[in-house]
């Protein structure tokens, strides 16, 4: 199914802030096929949210984007708001990080769930209601009739996130962008939501961008994984390959630093020294160079390009990890 749904090319999204221009997303390119799930991982502040919002076209007022985002062959960047409103909902939908904050506390869940349907599908009130009941049942909300009349605060966090997913699914979008959908939730609920997302994604033959800072979340739920660092993609590839054989030094270090169940008691955790570069003044070349043990002069000047590295894989690293170094894992 080599059917490209979304294609992002050299996308740059710069935001104005009191301290200067934040280069939150800087030259990002990737493709997403129909029915495919891609995981977007990276540390906090690496630009995952800005990237998702740039694709949506929901960036803050003082911002500018260049490059291109084509959805089904149609350029989304620069599309007027009016046209975007036809895409938001029935074509692309988004699930936000914190369900508590992305549901309007003063509007009943029923209305929030049905307003999109009524606008985009033009269905009647009662039909929208019926569909909403079905949707809630599908995302595993018990007693949907009652929940539709409830206000968001009357639901638990997990239920809220299920409702948010139902809202996103309401108009049967082709692409679902889930920005850290489980970060605010408990492990047990996170597990449920992740299972749910994967299920609806494959059942509806939807494409999905699953954003998370937790590598483990992405690992079992996506077909491909993109690792992001300081506004750039470090590496893109099939999930299995990226986790089994990380090529980029950053991916490697990140996997290393992730605590595992079999870590020895009271032993030191492997570190990534240093911190993310200041997004206002990003260094030239590879942005990870300053924290990388394997950096060379060429990393900063001219710096690595995104290069294909095997089947469906590309890496932007001058000194990529080779197979033999992966013993520790």
């Amino acid at each position: 199914m080599n059917d490209i749904l979304l294609s992002v090319r050299e996308l740059r999204a710069y935001l104005g802030s009191p301290r200067g221009v934040v280069k939150a997303v800087d030259d990002v390119s990737f493709d997403l096929a129909r029915g495919e799930a891609i995981g977007l991982v990276g540390e906090s502040g690496s630009g995952k949210s800005v990237l998702s919002r740039a694709i949506m076209g929901l960036l803050p007022r003082r911002s500018e984007t260049t490059g291109s985002v084509t959805f089904e062959g149609r350029e989304l960047l620069g599309l007027p708001r009016k046209a975007m409103r036809e895409i938001w909902g029935p074509r692309i939908a988004m699930v936000f990080q914190d369900p508590g904050r992305s549901l309007n506390p003063v509007v009943r869940t029923g209305r929030q769930l049905t307003e999109g349907m009524r606008r985009h599908l033009g269905v009647s009130r009662s039909e929208a209601h019926a569909r909403a009941v079905k949707l809630l049942a599908e995302v595993g909300v018990p007693d949907p009739e009652r929940r539709l009349r409830a206000y968001p605060h009357e639901l638990s966090g997990g239920m809220q996130q299920r409702v948010m997913i139902a809202v996103a699914l309401a108009c049967e979008p082709d692409l679902l962008i889930a920005d850290e959908p489980t970060t605010a939730l408990d492990v047990t609920v996170q597990r449920q939501i992740l299972d749910l997302l994967r299920r609806v994604q494959s059942e509806h033959r939807m494409s999905m961008i699953l954003v998370s800072h937790d590598l483990s979340v992405v690992a079992g739920r996506t077909d491909r994984t993109a690792v992001m660092y300081a506004g750039r993609l470090a590496e893109v590839g099939p999930t299995r390959d990226v986790f089994r054989q990380p090529r980029h030094r950053y991916t490697h270090a990140l996997l290393d630093a992730t605590p595992t169940m079999d870590h020895e008691r009271h032993a030191k955790f492997p570190l990534i020294p240093g911190a993310l570069p200041d997004p206002v003044r990003v260094p030239p070349g590879c942005r990870f160079a300053a924290r990388c043990a394997h950096a060379t002069a060429s990393c900063s000047d001219p710096g690595p390009d995104m290069r294909p590295a095997g089947e469906g894989r590309s890496v932007a690293c001058s000194n990529p990890v080779t197979g033999g170094e992966l013993v520790g894992r």
Binding site: S44, G157, V187, R191, L194, G220, P259, M261, H263, A275
Partner: protein, 331 residues
């Protein structure tokens, strides 16, 4: 599960001992029993982990020990001294021995004061001279890996999460406590920063001869940071024991379910076991008997009637469950 009992307490040598602690909050919907009869103790020099889902009362228990939350019942002893009834004055002195790092590091720093002032607050309250305060603040900031000069004029709002957490640790250590309660010290942080902070806590623990209570919900972190672990559910204790033993052979179905839900960074084995159904019941109306029974795959009628007590299932491992062995068998 979720039962009570004190069988797992280890007697007099404990530095901190908590018995049948009950904490309630009056809320709009009624009274929430955030902690209802939990007991635990910490031996000097050890690290005790407290694990559980959000809202199970971990933070509340930690705060109640420090008397930052009025406990409704139970006994708290520190170094052999009963402190649940201690006067305000005695408590102020005791607080210098028991310090807490709060869940949200950024929120626990006053945005309108500068970092050195925040760190020196404890000394300032005890009336130390200005000069000494400054020196001590600088020292301790260096110890947690921050540069005192650079931070001298910085408002906490401009700190990154990791820096804020370091400042919070520095503030707690500035008064040289014996016991440090860390409430989810890394849950707001990125993996790379998380590792730095965890290593720092390990280092400081040795350097300052600390006894640590480590509250977290990240099971992987708890396993490697702690000696003993206490699993909580809806304000009650479920399981207690050596952390590695508990992880390897969970006796309580809840412990098991928790471990099964942890996502693994493995594309082929995303989880260790099956998913746990249902959600945390409302703390306003907890289920009768064993509080976990509504989600427990092993639940029997007896679970709804009788609340299980903590009992030893294996040497040094205690669980509050009517069928701990079945759990084991299933595995």
């Amino acid at each position: 599960m979720a039962g009570n009992g004190t069988a797992h307490l280890r007697g007099d040598e404990a530095l901190l001992s908590v018995r049948d602690l009950v904490v309630e909050y009056a809320t709009k919907g009624g009274t929430v029993r955030a902690v209802s009869g939990a007991s635990f103790d910490v031996l000097p020099g050890e690290t005790l982990g407290i694990v559980g889902e959000s809202g199970c009362g971990k933070s509340t228990a930690g705060r109640a020990v420090l008397r930052l939350e009025g406990a409704v019942g139970g006994e708290v002893s520190f170094g052999g001294e009963r402190i649940d009834g201690a006067g305000e004055r005695r408590m102020r002195a005791l607080r210098r021995d028991m310090q807490m790092i709060f869940q949200d590091p950024v929120a626990s720093l006053n945005p309108r004061r500068n970092v050195p002032a925040i760190v020196a607050e404890g000394l300032a309250i005890s009336g130390a001279p200005k000069e000494k305060q400054q020196r001590a603040a600088a020292e301790i900031l260096t110890a947690v890996g921050l540069s005192p000069e650079q931070l001298a004029t910085t408002s906490p709002r401009r700190l990154s999460g990791g820096q804020a957490q370091r400042v919070a640790i520095a503030r707690a250590l500035a008064v040289r406590p014996r016991l440090l309660i860390c409430d989810e010290p890394v849950s707001a942080l990125d993996v790379s920063v998380q590792a730095q902070i965890l290593n720092l806590i390990e280092d400081l623990k040795t350097e300052f001869a600390l006894t640590v209570v480590f509250i977290a919900h990240d099971l992987a972190v708890v396993r490697s940071m702690t000696d003993h672990v206490l699993i909580m559910y809806l304000g009650k204790t479920c399981e207690f024991g050596d952390s590695q033993q508990v992880y390897d052979h969970p006796a309580h179905p809840y412990t098991r379910a928790l471990l099964d839900s942890v996502p693994l960074a493995d594309p082929d084995h995303p989880f260790r076991g099956p998913s746990l159904d249902g959600e945390l019941p409302s703390p306003l109306a907890p289920p009768s008997g064993c509080r976990f029974r509504t989600r427990c795959p092993l639940a029997q009628p007896v679970c709804a009637r009788t609340e299980p007590e903590m009992r030893e299932v294996r040497p040094g491992q205690f669980a509050a469950c009517h069928f701990p062995d079945q759990n084991e068998e299933q595995q």
